[in-house]
């Protein structure tokens, strides 16, 4: 078991209901437990999933299961499926040392499409995200997922990017059996998505 860079290591997985947050946090959590860590994964279920802002709190420890909510300002990693949600989570949980991995594809809420609210320009959004993070890895996960045939692959691409970034004590080998187990029929496609993410994160 590799030593954690911090005890506990706190990661927020952000997105919009329907993007696959729960699946993402489940796969990563499972890999961590199989590698001997204590993990606590707090998810958002139910009504809040209907187009709302969702965040999974993943807390990793060598010694104990922490509570399901990360205190404000205490995220070490933010992995996000949607850029405005990245900023929302940075504002609440960020700090000068946080590492951020973010998708670039906006999902417009009804507040925005109805004209009641304005979605920031993506360049400006990324600038703010950079300003609030020690390090940012920008992944065009949805664009890449379309190339693989389905926008839903964005979430497994982001797992690849997360593992590629090296912020977690996990490698490709530790994720492979988990993907195999969870996607027995679509393993190749998911592995391709995972590898795309790894590559985009510089591996």
């Amino acid at each position: 078991m590799k030593k954690l860079s911090k005890e506990p290591l706190n990661m927020i997985i952000a997105g919009v209901g329907g993007q696959g947050n729960v699946l993402l946090s489940f796969l990563i959590g499972k890999a961590l437990v199989q590698n001997g860590y204590f993990v606590s994964v707090g998810d958002t279920y139910g009504a809040s999933q209907r187009g709302g802002s969702v965040a999974s709190h993943v807390r990793i420890s060598e010694h104990t299961c922490y509570g399901s909510l990360i205190p404000s300002g205490h995220a070490d990693v933010i992995l996000s499926l949607e850029p405005a949600e990245t900023l929302r989570m940075l504002c609440r949980f960020g700090n000068p040392d946080v590492v951020t991995i973010t998708n670039t594809r906006p999902i417009y809420s009804s507040d925005v499409t109805s004209g009641n609210d304005v979605y920031p320009k993506i360049d400006e959004l990324l600038k703010l995200i950079e300003k609030l993070s020690a390090e940012v890895i920008v992944i065009k996960a949805t664009d890449e997922a379309f190339k693989l045939g389905n926008p839903i692959f964005a979430n497994v691409i982001l797992i690849g990017a997360l593992i590629g970034s090296g912020v977690l004590p996990l490698d490709k080998k530790s994720l492979e059996p988990i993907l195999q187990e969870n996607f027995p029929k679509e393993f190749d496609a998911n592995m391709a998505a995972f590898n795309t993410g790894m590559k985009l994160a510089g591996h």
């Binding site: 919009v16 729960v22 699946l23 946090s25 489940f26 959590g29 499972k30 961590l32 437990v33 204590f38 993990v39 606590s40 994964v41 707090g42 998810d43 958002t44 279920y45 139910g46 009504a47 809040s48 209907r50 187009g51 709302g52 802002s53 299961c65 922490y66 509570g67 399901s68 909510l69 990360i70 205190p71 404000s72 300002g73 205490h74 405005a84 900023l87 929302r88 940075l90 504002c91 960020g94 700090n95 000068p96 999902i107 417009y108 809420s109 009804s110 507040d111 925005v112 499409t113 109805s114 004209g115 009641n116 609210d117 304005v118 979605y119 920031p120 703010l128 609030l132 949805t142 926008p151």
Partner: protein, 646 residues
């Protein structure tokens, strides 16, 4: 995704709190499980129903929580350990049976798991179900994470048998919906043999006879059971203290809050000053044990969700401590150090303890904090909305248009389900009353009987298919019988969608996926003699015309079944979209349309967005599910739907 490994005792698995509760029940050797879907409890039955064959148990989605609990009790009476699981509101539904059950006792171990939803993350209300245990004299255990959810659920069955009463296990959303490490125990291999005892000992009328009489005698017996529970709780290893022998501050906590307290004390580096007493057995209160803890400090803070439940019990106890006891100062909800409503959070607990201990706490770098405070305003809101392709959007659109055309200030009475979102923009603010399961029809019954008072507004009641079967049939019968005037819309999407697409009696499938009798909602309504029509809400014009016609007709209760499968269920099965939808930018007139962009400003499907640069509507292909409904509402025919190639 609810699933658990059946073998592998001794191994550690990542389990959802609700999966852990299911695992605990299996390790306790249950043979019977019943439930009705409700967030945050649904995954307990999702898990149990997925392994019935392998485990040789009976698992069912019951029609409602009262029947679920009654069915589980029946199994218990015949010597089969049984569990009933439900959300907070479910125990309200089951309460009439529960209070009677408390009188009769049980056969084999019987446990009800109730999952509260502090913060009402997926509920119509906040509720502290612990109060029901005090009201009904039932033993109550609170779980705090996945591991002890498993262990404590298992223990609850032993306790139930020992005390001869149903035992309540209370969870909350942050436990049921949090995954954590769980070390698995053994699964018993015993065969179940069910037999209802028909002979009882007349000198011991409390055993093997499941009637609430002799009433006063059994009330006395119930209180004796509770006294015995208190004795058990005095020595339970699930109640424990961590901290210095004498503390400057003693925290008494339970459930998910235990972790917030531990984290707060660690974060503030107060481990040598502050002690934490974790109470699992919160009713009846083990008074001797708690009295002992109270001697550790004169300052006591209560951290619990949602009511000051332990707080009040301990204050009651403190009032009865010997006269020479030191004066205790209590902090908590009564003193407003802990909020009386809303979900608790580590931030609240950290700040409260810092305040009481006179230490300063900064969550993060102060410059960063200032920067962030400026930025919050640029983040757009995310109001909840119905899913892209949702048939309810079509229903609400039809209702909105029909009521506007009718022009007599008609409105909708509803309840809890995906269609609750009708109270917000996604359902065009059409839902004007929202309470318990099925309440829309009950409320409509009253409103529809006010003509003698000059009431002329049309009343529409709305209910989902699962909810109709759960709680609305008596209200519909009442409406027919008492000649109330309303139109009931049954939104039949062939699933219990909000909680995870569980089957119900109208789907023709059981919890375990086996085919069964299909309760025909249409035939059921017709059998009451009420006027019934069926619409596909996606045939918008026909639906609006039908509603308009029924609104214009004279009184009496009428039913319209809005029949269209939940888009999530359809997409999962068919794995393809019906249409490819696009916007022709040459035809779209953007802001000049309707009262300013009728499709994106008013209709508001998440798959349909507005391109600020082109100033035209456009389809978000990452979100659109190709239902094609928007093509029918566009007044200019700018939205084009083409049948998708298979």
């Amino acid at each position: 995704m609810a699933s658990i490994e059946l073998e592998a005792p001794g191994t550690t698995q990542l389990l959802l709190g609700n999966e852990a509760i299911a695992r605990g029940a299996l390790e306790a050797g249950i043979g019977f499980a019943a439930s009705y879907p409700g967030t945050p409890a649904s995954e307990i039955m999702d898990t149990l129903s997925s392994i019935t064959k392998k485990m040789g148990i009976h698992a069912e989605w019951s029609v409602n929580e009262k029947v679920a609990l009654e069915a589980a009790a029946g199994a218990s009476f015949a010597g089969i350990r049984a569990i009933a699981s439900m959300k907070q509101n479910g125990i309200n539904v089951a309460s009439d049976f529960l209070i009677n059950l408390a009188m009769t006792g049980i056969g084999k171990g019987l446990v009800a798991v109730v999952a509260d939803d502090p913060g009402a993350i997926s509920s119509t209300n906040e509720q502290d179900s612990r109060n029901i245990c005090k009201w009904m004299n039932l033993p109550l255990l609170e779980v705090s994470n996945a591991q002890d959810a498993k262990d404590i659920t298992k223990w609850a069955f032993d306790l139930s048998e020992e005390l001869d009463t149903i035992c309540i296990v209370r969870s909350v959303n942050r436990i049921g919906h949090t995954r954590g490490n769980v070390e698995l125990g053994k699964l018993p291999k015993s065969k179940h043999r069910a037999y209802f005892p028909i002979i009882w000992d007349m000198f011991k009328p409390t055993k093997s006879k499941f009637t609430t009489g002799p009433f006063i005698e059994l009330h006395k017996v119930l209180l004796q059971k509770l006294a015995k529970a208190e004795e058990e709780f005095e020595v339970s290893p699930y109640n424990y203290y961590t901290g210095p022998e004498k503390a400057e501050l003693l925290i008494i906590t339970s459930g998910a809050c235990t972790h917030y307290c531990t984290e707060a004390v660690k974060e503030l580096k107060l481990e040598d000053n502050v002690g934490i007493f974790k109470l699992t057995t919160t009713w009846p209160l083990p008074e001797k044990l708690v009295s002992k803890q109270l001697s550790r400090s004169q300052k006591v803070l209560f951290v619990e969700e949602s009511d000051p439940f332990i707080e009040r019990s301990v204050m009651e106890l403190a009032a009865n401590l010997p006269p020479d006891s030191p004066r205790l100062v209590f902090y908590g909800k009564r003193s407003r150090h802990i909020p009386l409503y809303g979900e608790l959070h580590p931030d609240i607990v950290i700040n409260t303890i810092a305040n009481l201990m006179g230490v300063t706490y900064l969550a993060r770098d102060i410059t960063y904090e200032k920067e962030v405070n400026e930025l919050y305003r640029v983040i757009p809101g995310r109001t909840l909305n119905l899913c892209p392709g949702c048939p309810h959007r079509a229903t609400f659109w039809a209702v909105k248009n029909a009521l506007q055309l009718d022009g007599r200030d008609g409105f909708v009475c509803g309840d809890i389900g995906c269609y609750s979102l009708g109270f917000a923009a996604g359902g065009y603010y059409q839902l004007r009353t929202m309470h318990a399961m099925g309440s829309g029809i009950g409320v409509a019954n009253g409103l529809g009987s006010l003509s003698r008072f000059g009431f002329e507004q049309p009343v529409i009641a709305m209910v989902g298919d699962s909810t109709f079967l759960h709680a609305a049939i008596p209200a519909l019968i009442n409406g027919v019988y008492n000649k109330s005037n309303f139109i009931l819309l049954i939104l039949d999407n062939n699933a219990t969608a909000m909680t995870g697409f569980q089957p119900h009696p109208g789907t023709g499938m059981t919890a375990t996926g086996e085919p069964t009798f299909h309760i025909d909602i249409e035939a059921l309504c017709r059998s009451l003699g009420v006027h019934v029509e069926v619409c596909d809400p996606f045939e918008l014009k026909n639906t609006i015309d039908t509603l308009l016609r029924l609104l214009a007709e004279a009184g009496g209760a009428k039913v319209v079944i809005m029949r269209r499968e939940c888009e999530m269920v359809r997409a999962k099965r068919e794995k393809r979209f019906p249409y490819v939808v696009s916007v022709d930018p040459d035809i779209c007139i953007g802001e000049a349309c309707g009262c300013n962009r009728v499709c994106t400003r008013v209709f508001q499907c998440p798959g349909l967005i507005y391109d600020q640069e082109l100033r035209k509507a456009t389809i978000d292909e990452a979100v659109c599910t190709g239902c094609g409904l928007c093509a029918d509402i566009c007044p200019h025919g700018a939205i084009i739907k083409k049948v998708a190639e298979s």
